[in-house]
Symmetry: C2
Subunit: 188 residues, 2 copies
Amino acid sequence: MVLFFVTGNEGKFREVSALAARFGVELRHSRTPYLEIQADSLSDIARVGAQQAFGLLKAPCFVEDSGLFISSLRGFPGPYSKYVFLTIGNRGVLKLMEGVEDRRAVFRSCVGYCGRDGRPLTFEGKAEGRISTEERGRGGFGFDPIFVPDEGDGRTFAEMSVEEKNALSHRGKAVEGFFRWYLLHKEE
Amino acid sequence: MVLFFVTGNEGKFREVSALAARFGVELRHSRTPYLEIQADSLSDIARVGAQQAFGLLKAPCFVEDSGLFISSLRGFPGPYSKYVFLTIGNRGVLKLMEGVEDRRAVFRSCVGYCGRDGRPLTFEGKAEGRISTEERGRGGFGFDPIFVPDEGDGRTFAEMSVEEKNALSHRGKAVEGFFRWYLLHKEE
């Protein structure tokens, strides 16, 4: 059975399809735009998004929402990371962090899945780390060049290959949890 | 006939009820939480919000969405102004603007109204101005202490009375446009 990943973000699709290949999940890319709600919780956004996408595609599908939550900035940019990235970008975030000692941050991801019963399920993942003092690396996308995961070796996400990033990242963990569930429960 | 203004923001209600009194519009406050979508356009957010609120209240009602768009920050914080205010606040925005010469900004407001026909209408207003170099004043709410409207005398919105601010503000203009329409078209 075909499973749609609904996203307009090519970087996300690249990462998720690498994981799908590893798990033997047959993935299709849909760029159908679906309504995203404003909420402080990624799981609310992903749950409603999955239902919206299912209503449009009429086929089992999932969406993924993620955000960077910086401790000393009370969780900014959080669920609005995409907009903040497109406006003030990595440089803006580095400027906000100038002279700030507490550089702890968490990248959070939530997958929302909706199958034929119309009831959405969510799967979460997180990566704890720190905001670097300068941009490093050209891989990944978004805030990857300024995020150094605690589980890594000091490189930013943007300095890693897709496989290295997937092994440590919030998205890798959320998607892996979802694929494990999906392979046990998928509708034939 | 009663008209509901649906908002969880007491500052907004204070401003809008001062205008309602001036126009002779009978206003009721509803704090019913309604779904807000993520969109780069305030009018999309207000339109969907008004429909959502009407669906919950089953009575003619309006919502108001607003945002501060700073030119040199590519429109940041824009439609996500509330979240940005609650996280990095005025101080964060002033930090992002340190050393920035182009301080132009626009406050935009959009009223979304939904009457018994279920078709939402929108009314817009804007106030052009500049980001100050420090916070000034204790009135208003949100980014008012750092916004100096071009039409004013150099004071920030937070240094004005509700009436002074309403005469110059994005919200005052959007709501006034809506009230003028409403008084001609309201359903008895």
